[in-house]
Amino acid sequence: MVANINLKELERKAFRSVFQDGLWDIFVGFLFTQFAVAPFLSEQGLGDFWSSAVLFPVYMIVLACVMLLKKYVVAPRLGMVQFSKKRKSKFKWLILMTNIILVVGIIAAVFFVDLSNLNIKWLFPATLSLILLIGFSVTAYLLDLTRFYIYGAMNCLAVVFGELLYQFAGAVHHGFPIAFGVTSSVMIIVGIILLVNFLRKYPKPSEDFNVEGVRNGSR
């Protein structure tokens, strides 16, 4: 047995099990609906900043729902685990990298507003697709989640595809509503499928379940 067991793979399997509920996929999917919805809100006179800012409370509500579901639905079914220091340091790296990518994204957005009068057609989509690809890839690498590489590639291509629709097929808002409408829907649907599978695979145990093994005579 010892010859076949791979402790790294075992740890990875345990770690991945925490993400098999699909809730983060649903949350990230909702975040990306912003790219699809915000251009229309901007058109209604809200402007570029407020069209995104107005959606912030919605995402906070979705995040709160995710946290509540994690606590009251997922944890009682999956159980609780504390991972090693190495994993915890990877989480810290993820938070740091996410913040850096966010800051770079904001700086790039401000920069492109200044450049909007120039006729540089592919600079904006190329930069955005690169930021998305790097962001998702870093997340996938640090969390050992293969499907986030696919999300990264999908969103990267969505920007290019949207721009093509905008330049050659007359789509509005750089094709974002169509392209990101599709990618965010895919992520939300994948998340829902994972959540349903998770709930089927892990039914809620009886309330006194976790006391097992500590009662006298129960062992």
Binding site: V2, G79, S84, Y202, F209, N210, R219
Partner: protein, 109 residues
Amino acid sequence: MAAGKKESDELKQVVDIDRVIHEPARFLIMAYLYVVDSADFLFMMNQTGLTRGNLSSHISKLESTGYVKVQKEFVNKMPRTILSLTDAGRTAFNDYRQQMKQVLADLPK
């Protein structure tokens, strides 16, 4: 004479294998607890695929040997059994791995 001594050493290596860890279910429990800091009973059951009673009895054995620490605590007013490897358990698991690797490496092809 020297060959006889070598054979006897190899045999001793096999006989010295830690039988508490050698049982497959207990080995799996130890392996999981080796790669995480701690986990509760439910998580271990889901990961190992062992039944409630089975896991319970193996944990009990590992606890009595001093390899696994069992803590009872309340999380959100719910009782939980938190399991973790003791230092002795970690050392024993490492020793077991080394011994098994050695024993298996010495087998003729």
